[in-house]
């Protein structure tokens, strides 16, 4: 697994091998598997992402009753042509909500990188696939790009809310989605790295403060934030806007910020939204037994 996006950029330039292929080759070397086998696994992951969106049920509510029916509301508004954001962003929002609601309702999802952030990457990828009529093959390549970025973040920082706060989950997912999206729109390794830097920079410092300790409030709606943020990071990148801080250093900054976060805002439900009067009230209603 790569530990630096700069390294991937250098290798793409030196060898002429694209970002996604470098990530695939590294994975195959480490785990002693064939590229064909790896490709099939990734295709399975992409299909599972697709299914996690298709299987949404608009009448389903989570056990706590806090989550349900929200993706359907955005769908309706989009169908009526009333969304301020327009159709593409509307689709991204709708998918992010639906997939993360499904997660809260104990349906099958792909943790990418985590269950709490499972709506971000598929919302962006499925929407751009529809918009640009891209093949599943191409989408699998973008998944390698996203996985490569996630791997670098994991090695330099963390992908867990308990260790690094929400920035490590929604932030990392957004960086992964942004890089994959730029790849799908023709970007090379430097553009991919740039988009992931822009995406994560905007989400640095995000606390993990789930109400009642559940992956519901604010997690579901933060998936919307992460997904939409990935699209804006890709647009900025493709417009030629460059992050002044390179991606690897942004990841290091995330690690640094995570270390400074108190335990109260790292998934323990002891601070932030979880301990607001309303958060406490909700939590008191939901106890086991």
């Amino acid at each position: 697994m790569y530990e630096s996006l700069k390294q991937i950029c250098l290798e793409e330039e030196a060898k002429g091998t694209p970002f996604w292929k470098l990530v695939q080759m590294e994975e195959c070397k480490e785990l002693q598997k064939t590229q064909e086998a790896s490709h099939q696994e990734m295709l399975g992951i992409y299909q599972a992402m697709h299914a996690s969106y298709e299987d949404y049920e608009d009448k389903l509510y989570s056990a706590s009753g806090l989550v349900g029916g929200e993706g359907a509301k955005i769908f309706k508004r989009r169908m009526e042509g009333k969304l301020l954001c327009g159709d593409l962003i509307g689709r991204v929002m709708e998918k992010a909500l639906k997939i993360s609601e499904s997660n809260a309702c104990m349906k099958r999802i792909v943790a990418a990188p985590t269950a709490g952030s499972c709506g971000v990457v598929p919302a962006v990828f499925l929407s751009i696939q529809e918009e640009k009529k891209l093949s599943d093959e191409k989408m699998v390549e973008a998944l390698y790009v996203a996985g490569g970025i996630g791997g670098v973040i994991a090695s330099r920082a963390s992908l867990s809310g308990a260790a690094g706060g929400c920035q490590a989950e929604i932030g990392a997912a957004s960086a992964m989605a942004a890089g994959g999206l730029v790849y799908l729109l023709g970007g090379g390794a430097p553009e991919i790295a740039n988009a992931s830097a822009l995406a994560l920079k905007s989400l640095l410092g995000l606390a993990c403060d789930p109400v009642a300790g559940l992956v519901e409030v604010p997690c579901v709606k933060r998936n919307v934030l992460g997904a939409v943020n990935a699209v804006t990071a890709a647009d900025m990148t493709l417009a030629g806007i460059r992050s002044k801080i390179p991606a690897d250093e942004v990841f290091d900054a995330m690690y640094n910020i995570g270390k400074h976060m108190d335990e109260e805002i790292r998934e323990t439900a002891k601070g932030g939204l979880a301990t607001t009067p309303t958060g406490v009230q909700i939590s008191e209603k939901i106890v086991m037994q």
Binding site: I45, C105, K107, R108, A111, A112, A212, V215, M288
Partner: protein, 221 residues
């Protein structure tokens, strides 16, 4: 960590630690039992206790005990599945003291009457640790074929076990030894790179001074 840990796993939500990890604890317990489980007393501790209902931790651990995997759509319906499979269960709260916040203790009975007491923790990202077996310390992840030998604390048992493994060409990845008291109950926890053959485990179980042999096979994972 590999790529499929980052864009994956495919799992039933909502939480990798409280749901997927709980399924895995159940599944590893089922494998350690080596037979169908008919009775389970489940004691949730800490965050498993306080947020378990909302995370489906109770359903998840039952699904695992029934042999389902982390991505099986049966998980949310495992209460019904347990009833159908003849698994009777009771869920309790407990304070296990200074342990990982996502910990659970289980008292299990198999169809042959075999009993197993297990304490396990879900340590993040769906990874787990088995902390205690039958009241004795045991630290293993369930990712490797694992041999757990309870024996009387006397000279020679480690040699018996390791010679047998060498003879069967099984390489030891990690090995831990614990004992309760000098000359009392002792345990060996051995994580291996290859599966240990069944006949070797049966042979071991009949040796004098060996109290109990438990084996986790990961074949078919």
């Amino acid at each position: 960590m590999n790529l499929l840990d980052i864009v994956g796993p495919v799992m039933v939500g909502p939480s990798s630690s409280h749901t997927a990890g709980a399924v895995k604890i159940g599944l590893v317990s089922r494998k350690l039992m080596g037979e169908k489980i008919t009775n389970a007393d489940i004691y949730f501790h800490g965050s498993f206790l306080s947020t378990g209902k909302g995370h489906g931790t109770d359903r998840a651990i039952l699904a695992g005990l029934l042999g389902y995997r982390v991505d099986d759509p049966v998980i949310p319906h495992s209460f019904e599945a347990a009833e159908k499979a003849g698994l009777s269960y009771r869920i309790h709260g407990i304070d296990l003291g200074e342990v990982h916040p996502n910990s659970v203790k289980m008292l299990l009975t198999g169809e042959s009457g075999k009993e197993l007491e297990i304490v396990a923790a879900s340590i993040g990202g769906g990874r787990i640790q088995i902390c205690e077996l039958d009241g004795l310390t045991a630290n293993f992840s369930g990712d490797y074929p694992t041999l757990i030998v309870h024996n009387v604390d006397q000279p020679g048992h480690v040699t018996e076990v390791t010679s047998m493994l060498a003879h069967k060409s099984v390489n030891i990845a990690t090995m831990q030894l614990y004992r309760k008291s000098r000359g009392g109950d002792a345990v060996m926890v051995i994580e291996c790179d290859q599966e240990v053959p069944e006949e070797a485990i049966r042979w071991l179980a009949h040796l004098e001074g060996i109290v109990k042999v438990t084996y986790l096979s990961i074949a078919g994972d």
